[in-house]
Symmetry: C2
């Protein structure tokens, strides 16, 4: 299968490397920024282009992996292609593509990607969707090459998943950052708290989070909660977060 | 060293097992509830007692591992002992003990403990404090047997650490639980999001969280944020959490 990759960000980069590792042919990398296109294309021996008119029209699969609000305009530049065009977005409707191209699909990897961190693609849940059963089968086969976890999901469920991912990934990471802020301002290193973060995630690999909640809020330990709030008296933003999340923990059914 | 353990909860249970595994002699387990005392004592071949007057007075070390607000009254029951009396609390001053007993200390394991999940004690940061240098050395040697990470920390820094732990552990776990709520209500299983949780924690083992933040808020992707807020329109509590944390991410220095 000949694949054209449109995008050069975090998702595109990790996807390109995973595709190459599985022997798939990414023939072109498109990015409006030629430097970025060349950087990624160079790593997977593909051609770099920065003009949508220079994109090959005879590829089998076009993967649009760009910011959500740029998907539509790139799809509009692929009107002539016969291959399957997919995006990798959690929140964008398949119709954004199918209004522009002949065959549309979604290829959404549910993972957090940073260029500075390698990921094991085999364990990334891949959520697929397509406008017809034949194309869905193509995506299923490709997804099964890349990962052990392939989910066929409609757009509504994919959006729910993306929302849940913000709660399960983006927000926890931000809370790690706030913890680091508190530590640094008191001359303590983030290293000291890493085992706790690892164990907190590890616990929910085999348990449901509501069954392993610990801390002052779940114990209704108002004395500790009040001590913490008073330690944060010069940080009203952190105080608000502490209060909001503690209240939410208390309201959780046990 | 002969050790008396006062408490039978999550921390006491994991500590008892770790002490036994390293060949330390826990000779007694005290709990006001005899059933609980016997349950834990039976696992480590110790005597179970539910009366403070029955606690041995000639042990070397007394570890009080109970809810914070119960520490003082238990310490008051140990006035006669000559051994070192420590608590395992992140937020309780050493003075709560030293006002009651001859030799006081703190032995605070920075970890989240649930009885249903085993932990590798070797990698748990142990924070120690004592009223004199000799006792501190005793704690340091014991801590070094149990863990590779021993920190000598005064009460103020220990409290900061405990506060940071709420942000790095208790709150993220609650956010996992909210993610699960969103998934379940839409017929999706928590399993699908576990690889994302694992990777989110794994990323900060070698990076600082502020350098690997992903998601709509850090991209200032208002369109996705608004879609998510509208998906939560029937859940004002989740909407508030989403809004508060997204705003906080946007305000984070990059």
């Amino acid at each position: 299968m000949n694949i054209v990759l449109l995008g050069s960000g975090n998702v595109a980069t990790h996807l390109a490397k995973a595709l190459k590792a599985k022997g798939e042919h990414v023939v072109q990398v498109y990015s409006p920024n030629l430097v970025n296109a060349k950087l990624l294309a160079g790593r997977i021996a593909a051609e770099a282009v920065n003009d949508l008119n220079a994109v090959k029209t005879d590829a089998d699969l076009y993967i649009i992996s760009v910011k959500d609000d740029a998907i539509e305009s790139i799809a509009a530049g692929l009107k002539k292609v016969n291959g399957l065009v997919v995006h990798t977005s959690g929140t964008t409707d398949i119709q954004v593509l199918s209004a522009q191209v002949k065959h549309a699909g979604v290829f959404y990897p549910l993972q957090t990607f940073s260029k500075i961190k390698e990921v094991v693609f085999d364990r990334i849940p891949l959520c697929i969707e397509a406008t017809d059963a034949g194309r869905l089968e193509i995506l299923r086969q490709l997804a099964a090459k890349l990962s052990e976890q392939v989910y066929e999901l409609g757009g509504e469920k994919r959006k729910v998943l993306h929302l849940a991912a913000v709660f399960a990934c983006n927000f926890p990471n931000h809370l790690y950052a706030l913890a680091n802020q508190v530590l640094q301002q008191n001359g303590l290193d983030f290293e000291i708290i890493r085992p706790l973060i690892a164990e907190t995630a590890d616990k929910v690999m085999t348990n449901l989070p509501e069954n392993v909640q610990t801390g002052p809020a779940v114990r209704n330990d108002e004395s500790t909660i009040n001590k913490h709030l008073s330690m944060l008296k010069d940080k009203p933003a952190l105080q608000e977060i502490y209060q909001t999340l503690s209240n939410s923990i208390k309201l959780m059914p046990k």
